[in-house]
C-alpha cells in the first residue's frame, strides 16, 4: 500500500531530557523518523524539551517546540498546529505516556488527531501487565506466574502464594524504575511500596522469580499487510536479574539451538500480531530456563527502544526510519533497504559478525549508592563493538567503555587459588566489575593454578552465565597465558591474540613491554586489522554504505576515494559529564564539513565512534562510519586505513569531549594531522603556570591559588590563599574529590581522608580561593586567530560553586550590565589569543564584588554549545568545524553560517529568555538501606541531562524548565516546607513572604521558624524526625504526600559527604 494520502502533517513527541533508562537512543530514532517524514512531504511538528538533541535542530522538523512534554502544553501545540496525526512510538515511555494522556482526556478526538504507529488499544495491551499476560496465554505462550497488586495488603497476600524471592515490577514506568527483587517481607514492603507510588496507576506486578534464567530479546516489525520481520535477536550475557540496559549483551543470540530460536521467533511474531502493533516495531523479551528450556515471555514494548537502536546499529537495518514509513502506510516490501539499495525492508538482516554491547556506569559519582546490579537500570551509557567472533567483539567493547579497569589489564600476576575463592564469592553478586573479575579467575585457570573445567563449573554455579560465554573467555585467558609464557612473540601467536580481541596494551602487559612496543612488532610483522562492512545481508548483495568495523581478517572493504577526508573523533559512551552535547557537536561537524555549499566545506567526512545510542553513529551522518573504540590503537589503525584510501586533510579531536582530547598529543606524535587548536595550545590552557602567564599578560584576575604535596604545605598555602578554599586532587576529572574547606580543621580532615597516613600525595593537591557569593558566567566563543565571535553568555542561577553542568543558567544573561559584558568580551579575546585557540573556546568567569575573575578556560566544544545554538539560532558547532578546517569567521559571516553582523552578546532587549536546567538522577540511586542518595548539589557533576525552557520572561522560562524536568513542575498552591542553613536566613524572608501571600501554607523547623515569625510570616513549626513527639514530622508529611514543595539548604559541609558549594576555579579544562 502506498503512503496514506489523508495524513499531511504529523506531531512527533520526543523523549525529553537524557535520564537513566531513556537516553540518546531516542534522539537517534526521533531524528531518523522526522527526516523520513519530511522526505515524504509531510509537515513535521516536533515537541521535545531537550536542547542537546539533533532532533530539535531547526532543520529536522518544520515546527520545533522545545517545550515541556506535558499534556497541557502539547494540547496548546496541537491547537496551534492542527496536525493530522500523532506519532508517539519514537520518544520512549515519555512520549507514549503523554500520548495516552492526550487520548484519555479527549484532546486527540477533539482536534481530530489520529494516533499512528501503534493504536491506543495495542499500547494498552502491551503495557498493561494483566492484558499482556492474557495476550501471551492466547498465543500459547507462558508468562511467569504473577499477581497484580494495588496495595500493601495485596502484596503480602500474593507473597504467600508465590513465595520469596519475587520480582516487583511497577506498571507504566520506564527503565525498570522502582522494580527490584524482594527476598523477604521487609524488602517487599519497601520495594513494593515505592513501586505503588512510582506507577501512575498505583499498580505493581509480583512475579515468581526467574532469577538466573537466560534472557533474550527479539526486535520485530510489522506492517499493515501483516508482513512481519525479526530484525535482530539479542542475548544477555548476564542472566535474568540484571536489567537488559545494565547487562552485557550480544547480537545475534549465540547460545540457542535453531529449534529454540524458531520457538522464540514464532512466539514473538504471534505476540506482535495478537497485541495488534500493525504499523511499527516492538521488542519482546524472553527468559529460558537453563536446564529445562521452559520459555517465559517477560514483556513487550510497542515502540522503538534502546534495544531497537542497538539492533539498528548492530544490523544496519534502521528500525526507526522504517517504523516511520510503515506508520504512514507503506508496507515493508515497498520500502527500500538503504544499505544495499536493492533489497526491500521485508528481507530480514543476516549477520556475518558478532556484536557486543557493554554498559557504562557512574557509581563513582554516588559513593553512597549500592552498586549491585538489579532489575532497575543504573547504567548511564553504553558502548558497542563488532568483530568476526564473540571474543574479538567483547575485547573491543570493553576497551570502548573508556574506564581504566573495564578490561583485564594483565598487569598483575594471575590470582592464587586462595584469592580465586574470594573472587568466586564476589562474582555471585552482579556488579559493573563482574566480567573483569571472571576474566581474572579464568586467567588463573589458564595458567594452571586451577583446573579449567572445574573453574567453569564453579563460575556457572556462581553466576548462572551460560557456559559457552565463559568458555570463550577461558580461550582468551589461555592465549594470554601462552603469551605470558613465551620468549618470542611470533606472528602466529600475535595474530591469534588480535583475532580474539586483546589490545596492544594488554599484550604488552603480558610480555612486560609497552603497548607501543607491541604495536611496533605487529607492524613489522604486517599484522594490521582490515575493515569489513555492516551490510544487513552477510555479503549476499553489494552494499553501498561504508559502515565499517575492524577485524583481524584477510581483505579490507574500504574503498579508495578522491576527495580529502576529515576524521571526526566522537565521544564514546554517554557518561555523566560527557553526554550527547558532544555527540551533537560531532554530528554538526560532519554535516558542515561534508557540505560543499558552505564556505570551507566539501570534505569527505569520516566518523569514528563506539556509542550505539547516538545520531553520530547513524550510517548516513558522515560519509564513512567506523564503529571502533576511541583508543590510541584503534584510532591510529582507522587513520592508516583511510590514508591508504585517499588524502586525509585533518583529524578533529576537539568536539567529542575529554575522550578524544586526551588522545591529542599521542596522535599528533604519531603523525596524525590534528586540526583546530593545537595539542600544545590545549596543554597550555591546562597548565597552571602557562595559563597564569596568559592571564597576567592580559591583566585578568583569577582567584588566588596554590599547590601542595602534603599537610604542612597545604595549611601554609591555604593560609596564604585565604579561607574558604576549594581543595581537590590535581588529576581529577568532572570535579571528582572536590571539596570546600572553611578552616584549618576542615583542611586537616580533608587531607586525612584523601591522603592516607596524612602522607605525601602522588600528585599535588590544588588549593584555590573560593569566591563566595559570586555570579558564575559561562561563555562559548569562536576564534580564528583574527576575529572573535561570542556564541553566547550564560548567567548561572546558582552562585559560583555548583558544578556548571548541574547549575541552571539563562541566555541572554538577565542581570549583567553592559560594562560587565564588555569586560567579558575583552577577556575572552585575550584568552583566545593567549592560548592560541582555533575553533571553540569555553570560559567560566565569576563576578564577585564587581571583579570579573577567570575560573577556567576550555579550548574545545563545551556542554552548552547546543543550548547556545538553539537559544541564539546560530549553528555554532558547524561554524567551529569549518574554522578548524581553515575557514575564517569573516568567510562564515559572508557565507551565512554566522550572522552578517553582531554576535551572541547583542540579542535584542525583547528577545525571549532561554533557561537551561539540569536533570539529576538521585532517585535512581539507593543506599544499601534503600534510601535515595543525598540530592545536594556539589562540586561533582551528577546530572545526566538537561532541558530548555523558552518564554518571554525569566520567571516564565524558569517555570517551563521546572515543568520539563519533572512531572507536574512547580506547584501553584499548597504546602511548602522551608528550612535553611544559618547563612541563608537573612535572604529567606522575602521569597517566603511571597509564597505565603500566594496562599501557600508554610511549614518549617524551629530555627527557620523563629526568623520567619519575626518577619511576621505565618508558619507552622514541625517536629524534627529526630526529636521525640506525637505530631507528624516533616518526613511523615512528605511521605504521606502532604507537602508540595521542599526548600532545604544544607549547612556547611561536614565529613561524610562532599561539599555543598564550591567554586571550580580551575585554569584548566579537566574539571568539566
Amino acid at each position: 500500500m502506498p503512503r496514506r494520502p489523508d495524513i499531511k502533517s504529523v506531531l512527533v513527541i520526543g523523549s525529553g531530557p537524557i535520564v537513566i533508562g531513556q537516553a540518546a537512543e531516542f534522539d537517534y530514532s526521533g531524528t531518523q523518523a522526522c527526516r523520513v517524514l519530511r522526505e515524504e512531504g509531510l509537515r513535521v511538528i516536533l515537541v521535545n524539551s531537550n536542547p542537546a538533541t539533533i532532533m530539535t535542530d531547526p532543520e529536522i522538523a518544520d515546527a520545533t517546540y522545545i517545550e515541556p512534554i506535558d499534556p497541557q502544553i502539547i494540547r496548546t501545540i496541537i491547537e496551534k498546529e492542527r496536525p493530522d496525526a500523532l506519532l508517539p512510538t519514537l520518544g520512549g515511555q515519555t512520549a507514549l505516556n503523554a500520548a495516552i494522556a492526550l487520548a484519555g482526556d479527549g484532546t486527540l478526538e477533539e482536534f481530530g488527531v489520529e494516533m499512528i504507529g501503534a493504536s491506543l488499544d495495542a499500547i494498552n495491551k502491551a503495557e498493561d501487565r494483566q492484558l499482556f499476560k492474557e495476550v501471551v496465554e492466547r498465543v500459547g505462550g507462558e508468562s511467569a506466574r504473577s499477581r497484580i497488586c494495588h496495595s500493601i495488603d495485596d502484596l503480602l497476600e500474593a507473597a504467600e502464594d508465590l513465595g520469596y524471592p519475587m520480582v516487583v515490577r511497577p506498571s507504566f514506568t520506564m527503565g525498570g524504575l522502582g522494580s527490584g527483587m524482594a527476598y523477604d517481607e521487609a524488602d517487599l514492603r519497601r520495594i513494593g511500596g515505592d513501586g505503588l507510588h512510582y506507577s501512575p496507576t498505583t499498580e505493581v506486578l509480583l512475579e515468581e522469580s526467574i532469577l538466573g534464567w537466560k534472557e533474550f530479546e527479539l526486535e520485530l516489525m510489522r506492517d499493515s499487510a501483516d508482513n512481519c520481520v525479526v530484525v535482530c535477536s539479542i542475548e544477555n550475557v548476564d542472566p535474568v536479574g540484571v536489567h537488559t540496559g545494565d547487562s552485557v549483551t550480544v547480537a545475534p543470540a549465540l547460545t540457542l539451538t535453531d529449534v529454540e530460536m524458531q520457538k522464540l521467533r514464532d512466539l514473538g511474531i504471534a505476540i506482535i500480531r495478537e497485541v495488534g502493533v500493525d504499523t511499527g516495531g516492538c521488542n519482546v523479551q524472553f527468559a529460558t530456563h537453563p536446564e529445562t528450556g521452559r520459555v517465559v515471555v517477560i514483556e513487550m514494548n510497542p515502540r522503538v527502544s534502546r534495544s531497537s537502536a542497538l539492533a539498528s546499529k548492530a544490523t544496519g537495518f534502521p528500525i526507526a526510519k522504517i517504523a516511520a514509513r510503515v506508520a504512514i502506510g507503506y508496507t515493508l516490501d515497498e520500502i527500500r533497504n538503504d544499505i544495499t539499495g536493492t533489497t526491500p525492508a521485508s528481507f530480514e538482516p543476516a549477520l556475518d559478525y558478532v556484536v557486543v554491547k557493554v554498559p557504562r556506569f557512574a557509581f563513582e559519582k554516588f559513593p553512597a549508592a549500592d552498586p549491585t546490579l538489579t532489575t532497575t537500570m543504573k547504567s548511564v551509557g553504553e558502548a558497542m563493538a563488532l568483530g568476526r567472533n564473540f571474543t574479538e567483539a567483547l575485547g573491543k567493547a570493553q576497551r570502548s567503555i573508556d574506564v581504566k579497569d573495564a578490561s583485564l589489564s594483565y598487569r598483575d600476576a594471575p590470582p592464587s587459588a586462595a584469592e580465586v575463592t574470594e573472587l568466586l564469592d564476589q562474582v555471585r553478586t552482579p556488579t559493573a566489575e563482574r566480567l573483569v573479575t571472571i576474566s581474572r579467575i579464568l586467567w588463573s585457570a589458564a595458567e594452571g593454578i586451577l583446573d579449567p573445567a572445574e573453574t567453569l563449573d564453579r563460575l556457572v554455579e556462581a553466576t548462572a552465565i551460560d557456559r559457552w560465554f565463559l568458555d570463550q573467555m577461558l580461550m582468551v585467558a589461555e592465549i594470554a597465558a601462552e603469551i605470558r609464557g613465551t620468549e618470542v612473540l611470533d606472528a602466529d601467536l600475535l595474530s591469534l591474540a588480535k583475532r580474539h580481541g586483546l589490545s596492544d596494551d594488554q599484550i604488552g602487559a603480558l610480555c612486560g613491554r609497552s603497548g607501543d612496543v607491541v604495536k611496533g612488532v605487529r607492524e613489522a610483522l604486517g599484522i594490521n586489522p582490515v575493515y569489513k562492512t555492516v551490510d544487513t545481508c552477510a555479503a549476499e548483495f553489494a552494499s553501498s554504505t561504508p559502515y565499517h568495523y575492524s577485524t583481524y581478517d584477510q581483505e579490507t572493504e574500504v574503498e579508495t576515494r578522491e576527495r580529502p577526508a576529515i576524521l571526526i573523533l566522537g565521544s564514546g559512551p554517554n557518561r555523566i559529564g560527557q553526554g550527547i552535547e558532544f555527540d551533537y557537536s560531532c554530528v554538526h561537524a560532519a554535516m558542515a564539513l561534508g557540505n560543499r555549499d558552505l564556505p570551507g566545506g566539501g570534505y569527505e567526512t569520516v566518523m569514528i565512534n563506539c556509542n550505539p545510542e547516538t545520531v553520530s553513529t547513524d550510517y548516513d551522518i558522515a560519509d564513512r562510519l567506523y564503529f571502533e573504540p576511541l583508543t590510541f590503537e584503534d584510532v591510529v589503525e582507522v587513520y592508516e586505513a583511510e590514508k591508504a584510501a585517499g588524502p586525509v586533510a585533518g583529524v578533529i579531536v576537539q568536539l567529542g569531549g575529554q575522550t578524544p582530547l586526551s588522545l591529542a598529543r599521542r596522535l599528533e606524535a604519531e603523525g596524525l594531522p590534528i586540526i583546530g587548536t593545537s595539542p600544545a595550545a590545549i596543554d597550555n590552557a591546562e597548565d597552571r603556570g602557562h595559563f597564569g602567564a596568559v592571564l597576567a599578560e592580559a591583566n585578568l584576575p583569577a582567584p588566588p591559588y596554590g599547590t601542595a604535596w602534603g599537610l604542612s604545605d597545604a595549611t601554609e598555602v591555604a593560609a596564604k590563599v585565604g579561607y574558604p578554599v576549594l581543595v581537590r586532587p590535581s588529576y581529577v576529572l568532572g570535579g571528582r574529590g572536590m571539596e570546600i574547606v572553611f578552616d584549618e580543621a576542615g583542611l586537616v580532615d580533608y587531607v586525612a581522608r584523601n591522603l592516607p597516613d596524612g602522607g605525601r600525595a602522588e600528585a599535588p593537591i590544588l588549593i584555590d580561593s573560593f569566591l563566595d557569593t559570586a555570579i558564575e558566567i559561562d561563555v562559548d566563543a569562536l576564534y580564528d586567530g583574527t576575529d572573535l565571535y561570542i556564541g553566547g553568555v550564560m548567567e548561572h542561577i546558582e552562585e559560583a560553586g555548583i558544578h556548571s553542568g548541574d547549575s541552571a543558567c539563562t541566555l541572554p544573561p538577565i542581570t549583567l550590565s553592559d560594562a560587565v559584558m564588555d569586560r567579558i568580551r575583552t577577556s575572552t579575546l585575550a584568552i583566545a589569543e593567549g592560548v592560541g585557540v582555533r575553533g571553540l573556546l569555553n570560559i567560566q568567569f565569576a563576578l564577585s564584588h564587581g571583579v570579573l575573575y577567570v575560573l577556567e578556560a576550555n579550548p574545545r566544544a563545551s556542554r552548552t554549545v547546543p543550548f547556545v545554538a538553539k537559544a541564539t539560532g546560530v549553528a555554532l558547532a558547524q561554524a567551529a568545524a569549518l574554522l578548524m578546517a581553515g575557514t575564517s569567521i569573516a568567510d562564515l559571516r559572508r557565507g551565512g553560517v554566522l550572522p552578517a553582523e553582531g554576535d551572541g552578546t547583542d540579542l535584542p532587549d525583547d528577545s525571549p529568555i532561554a533557561v537551561k536546567e539540569a536533570v539529576l538522577p538521585f532517585k535512581r540511586f539507593r543506599t544499601r538501606e534503600g534510601r535515595a542518595v543525598d540530592s545536594v548539589l556539589g562540586p561533582e557533576m551528577r546530572s545526566t541531562g538537561e532541558v530548555m525552557g523558552l518564554d518571554s520572561t525569566f520567571p516564565l522560562a524558569f517555570a517551563k524548565s521546572q515543568l520539563a524536568i519533572a512531572g507536574q513542575g512547580l506547584p501553584i498552591s499548597g504546602t511548602a516546607f522551608v528550612s535553611v542553613a544559618d547563612r541563608d536566613k537573612r535572604s529567606l524572608p522575602l521569597p517566603v513572604a511571597r509564597l505565603a501571600a500566594l496562599g501557600f501554607e508554610i511549614l518549617t523547623t524551629a530555627g527557620t521558624g523563629r526568623v520567619l515569625s519575626r518577619y511576621g510570616i505565618p508558619c507552622r513549626v514541625l517536629r524534627k524526625a529526630s526529636e521525640p513527639g506525637d505530631e507528624a514530622s516533616v518526613i511523615e508529611l512528605i511521605e504521606n504526600g502532604q507537602v508540595d514543595l521542599v526548600m532545604n539548604t544544607p549547612p556547611a559541609p561536614t565529613r561524610g559527604w562532599t561539599a555543598t558549594r564550591s567554586a571550580p576555579p580551575r585554569p584548566a579544562w579537566t574539571s568539566r
Binding site: I797, S987, P991
Partner: protein
C-alpha cells in the same frame, strides 16, 4: 541527619525540591508568574526568525 532524611524523602516522593537559595528565589518568581491558563508556546523556527528580523532591524537603524 534530618536534612538528608528530608531530602531523601522528597526525592523518593517526587516532591519538587530546592537546595539553594538562588534557585528558591527563581522558583518563587516562577510560581507567581505561572499562568492559570496554559503556557504560550513558541516554535524554534519562529524564535530564530524573530531574532534574525530584529538583528536586521538593528543593522539598518
Amino acid at each position: 541527619m534530618d536534612g538528608y532524611a528530608i531530602r531523601a524523602a522528597a526525592t523518593s516522593m517526587d516532591v519538587p525540591m530546592i537546595t539553594t537559595l538562588q534557585e528558591f528565589q527563581a522558583a518563587v518568581q516562577a510560581i507567581e508568574a505561572r499562568p492559570v491558563e496554559p503556557f504560550e508556546v513558541l516554535s524554534l523556527q519562529a524564535h530564530t526568525a524573530r531574532l534574525a528580523a530584529s538583528r536586521a532591524r538593528v543593522a539598518h537603524a
